[in-house]
Every structure is written in C-alpha cells, then in structure tokens.
C-alpha cells in the first residue's frame, strides 16, 4: 500500500516536470520569435542609417556645402607641396 502511494507521487512529480519543461520550451520559442523580429528591425534600421550615412558622406554634397557655407575652393596641384622624407 505504501509502495503504491510512493509510485503515485513519483509519477505526479514526473508529469509536473514534463509540463514545466514544455512551458519553458514554449516561453523560449516565444522569446526567440520576439528576438528574431527585433533582429529584423535592427537590421532594417542599420540599412536605413547606412543609406543616410552614405548620402551624407557623398563627395559632391560635401564639396557643395564647403563652397557654399565656408567659401572653400578646391586646391590646385601647384598649391600643394609634397615633402620627400629621407629614408
């Protein structure tokens, strides 16, 4: 009689363990899905920022702004000095 009660307890604990495990897997899967979506969003943001960065770094744009706002002009080769360093 006592052995039967022990067995019932063991089976109950095992069943509770299986349920707990399944719940944990479920939670992890949901977390995984959320993270995957987050990753996709971050990648999209990253691409959008790259587009912005590239267009901001565009040479014609910088030259135009330098000329307009700061009055800079492109140096000519004869205005540039090169120094030969001794070896």
């Amino acid at each position: 009689m006592a052995g039967g009660v022990v067995w019932i307890g063991v089976v109950a604990v095992l069943l509770a363990g299986v349920v707990a495990l399944n719940v944990a897997v479920l939670r992890l899967n949901m977390q995984l899905d959320r993270l995957a979506r987050e990753r996709a969003d971050l990648r999209a943001q990253n691409a959008a920022l790259s587009v912005q960065l590239s267009s901001q770094a565009s040479a014609p744009r910088i030259q135009r702004l330098a000329a307009k706002r700061l009055g800079y002009v492109q140096a000519t080769p004869d205005q540039t000095s090169y120094v030969t360093l001794p070896h």
């Binding site: 897997v25 949901m30 996709a40 080769p77 004869d78």
Partner: protein, 560 residues
Amino acid sequence: MNRLVNRRIRLLLAVLTFAFAGLLLRATWLQGVRASSLARLGQTQHRETVALPASRGTLYDRTGIELGLGERATTVYANPKQIANPHAAAAAVEQTLGLDANRVYPELADQTRGFVYIEREADPAQAAALQRLKIAGFGFYPEERRSYPQGSVAAQVLGYVGIDGNGLAGLELQFDHQLSGRAGQETIVKDPAGRVIDVQQQRPERPGRDVFLTVDHSIQANAEEVLRQTVEKWHAKSASAVVLDPRTGGVLAMAVQPGYNANRYPSAPRDLQRNRTVTDTYEPGSTFKLITVAAALSEHLVSPSTRFTLPYSLRVADRVIHDAEPRGTVNYSVAQILAHSSNIGAIELAEMVGRTRLSSWISRFGFGRVTGIDYPGESPGIVLPPDKWSGSTIGNVPIGQGIAVTPVQMAAAYAAIANRGVWSRPHLVDHVSGGGRPSLQRHRLVSPQVASQLMLMLKDVVAEGTGTYAAMPGYQVAGKTGTAQKPDSHGGYATGRYVASFVGIVPASRPRLVILVMVDEPQNAIWGGVVAAPAFQQIARFDLQYLEVPPDAPTNAPTG
C-alpha cells in the same frame, strides 16, 4: 419490485449502450473518415510556412562607401472582397500612403478580385500607419527596396534592380548571381493569439554577397560634374569619360552625361540609362593614330626621328585627304606627325606598314572584339577585316575614320602604352566578399622600348602639339587629341556633326591615370584639343590632388 428494478437497469444499460455506440460511431467518423481533412484544417489554423527573405548584397566603392544597398520596405495589398467600405478605405490609403484615393478606389471596389497591390515597396512608417487603422481586407508583408544613396553618381555603371529584386541592368545585372541571396523558409506553430510557440522546420536565409568596386565615388562624381559643365558649355549632345589605373586596368570612374538619378530609374529615359563608354561606339579620329605609329615602330619600319616630306593633301584611291589646317609641304619626323596630328603623315606610315600588318596590329590592340570588362552589353566595335578593305580604306582607318571603337577599348589601348606596353583587362569589380581577388588578365602589346618612344611622342603632343590645353602645372602630361566626323545613315559623313576627344596619361614619367574624354556633337568648336582636352585637365587636376600623386615636372622648368 426486483423485476421492476431489473427492467430499469436494463433500460439504463440500453440507453448507455446506444449513447456510447453513437459516440463511438461519431469518433470513428471524425478520427477515421474525416481525419485527414480535419487535420489539414487544424494545421492551417495554427501552422504556417513563412518565407525568410534574403537581403541583397551591397555595392561598395573603392573607399568602402555604399553605392547600392537594400532598405526595408513594406508591400501593401488588399482583398477587395473583404473591404466593407471602399470609399473609407481609399481615403485611409490617401491619408497614410499619400496615394491618390481616386486611383485606389476602383481597385478596392472591384469585388471580382481577391488580391490587388496597393503599393509595392512602400515606406515602412507610412505602411505601419495604415496598419494601425486595422481596416479589414488590407495585408502587409516586408520586402527589400534597392537604394542608391549617392543618387546620380555612377548611375549607369551600377544599373538597377527590378521590383522583384532581380538585377536588370549594369553591375546589378552582371553580378546578380553573387548579389542575390537565397531566401529561407520556416514552419511555425502559433497559439490562438498568433504568437509563435514552436518552430518545426527551418532553412535559414543566405544573404547576398557584397561587391567591392574599383570605382571611387569622389573621382566618379568629379568626372560627372566636369562632363556636365562641358556638355553645357559646348551645347553638346552628350559626353563620356573613363578614368583607368594603367597599372591594373581598374576603372576609377566611368562617367556619362547627361545622367539620371539611380533611385528614379523607371522614369529616366532609356537613352540616359546606357553606359555609353562600354556599349556605344564612335569613330575615334586622330587618337587612333597612336596605333598606326605603334605598328610602324614595332615593325621596325621607322624610328621617332625618321622624317617624311608631307604635302598638304594626298589622293588615296577615289578620295583626296588633307590635313586639318591648310599648310604648305612640310618635313615632319614621326614624333611631329603625332604631335601635329598629321593625317597625311599617318597615312604614309600606314602605307609602309601595309593593310594586312596594320589590321593585325589593330586586332592586337583589342579593337573589333570585346575587352571582357565585367559589364553587360559590351560592344566589340566595328573593324573591317583586311579582305573587305576598299582602295580608300588605307586612307581612312589609320586616321581613325571608317572604324568604330568603344571609349573603354581606346582607354585600355592607351593604358597599355602607359603600362610599358602591357595591356590589362579593364575591370570595375575589385572583389566579391567571400571570394579572392580575380587574377589580372594582361598581355604584352608592344615592347617597353616602343612604349617608351610613344610616351615621349605623346608628351610632345601636349607640350607643343594639338593638346596644349591638357597641360597642367607641376605634372608632365602625355596624350592625344581626336576630332572625327560622325557617319550618317547613308554611308557617308554628316555635315557639322563631330566627336571631339582626348586621351591623356598622367603623370607621364610614372603613369597613374589614363583619362579619356569624349564629347559628342559639340557646337561652336569641334576640336578635341579645344573641347575635350580642358575637360581632361580638370578631371586630372582633381584626381591627382585627391590621390596625392606627387608632381613629376622638373621644377624651374616649363611644364607639360
């Protein structure tokens, strides 16, 4: 009493037996007969197979600046059968996506259709605004939209990608296989609230590979700007330029003007979308004399100092050919023939070489066949085989008429001279991520000695010949001007329609750049030395400064 009880028990037993029999039959019906269809129905409600789109690779310039990359977009579609109020739905579309409600309404009101696109690759923020309105019948899915952050810079070189993400032109087409990734797929199980609770099968997406170009966006943008000004100044039809590194054949810039904004390719005229430096041919005129002189030198028929007595005009078969400027009879060396771009002198040299050997040299320089540049739709040019030459051909071809070449062919030929006689295949792509650098394709065209003699002669062209406008302080420039009449559709030449060009090498003592400028149908002036040489000078001046190339002209001495 007992009999009554027994009867009631039997009645209860019968009722229970019937009830259980009914349940058993129902269970057998559901589990056996309708099992598969019900299982399928259940699966569609909680299982879903979704595509995992693969992002397209990025196109980078030489310095690592993105020239073409993928951006997330949202495609909005609708099922008109589920749209309860098309008027209100169209108004919501106009309010959020900015589309014309009058255009959208007929689509949404068409109850015969179950699927219509409202906007492909819409702005994700605008699509999200529509989604938040929770109007039944609208659907949304993510897509990738190709973006060209530099706008019009290198638009013809990059090409474009179609609405379905396939490369349709330019490098996007040429490297479509590498740039395209492989879409993934996963089967997910969702709970009643639509949350993913299990992933049953998964094939991850494989993103496309990045492509790194030899093109430099600053050099490219400057070349385009110079060409734009040149077209405007000379009211020309168009202008093209190629900037090559003669040591490797790497293309630093390939510019065509007028251009267009790569982000708005569907609305750009087809004519503007062509990379004319590769796909279009032109009669090169005097820049081709380099090949005639190279053939005569390589065949050991002349030296740079060999002198010729040259009349102003010469009859070749049924044609009379003369030099560009009226003059008396002159005595020119081979170097002077090139410096003064004498047609008569070039024809004299060609006649010494002969049609068969000259044809062979033309072919050796790569004219009449594609260079093999990594760009789609390359033209081989038009070169007559020697057996098809007429009596007057020897008076045309040596001076660059009656032959059609592409700008990239001509730039590659000059690059070979700059590279001590070794021709390198021009290329736009340095490497593809995940792969090694492709080996350079090169072969010798002329001996180093002949290349060196030609370089000296080309320096004279800029120092005292027809290309003086190409000279710049601090640097020695070698180059050749070209002015060619354009052929008409009747087999002759059109009056007043010319192509002006200049091909230059700089610094001449240690060449780093070969720059070809070609201006199509300039007005008011037609000469390569007047129209194209200044554009070359402007491009070269910027590039040398930008690339920090030290000057090579002797100090305290007149330059170029």
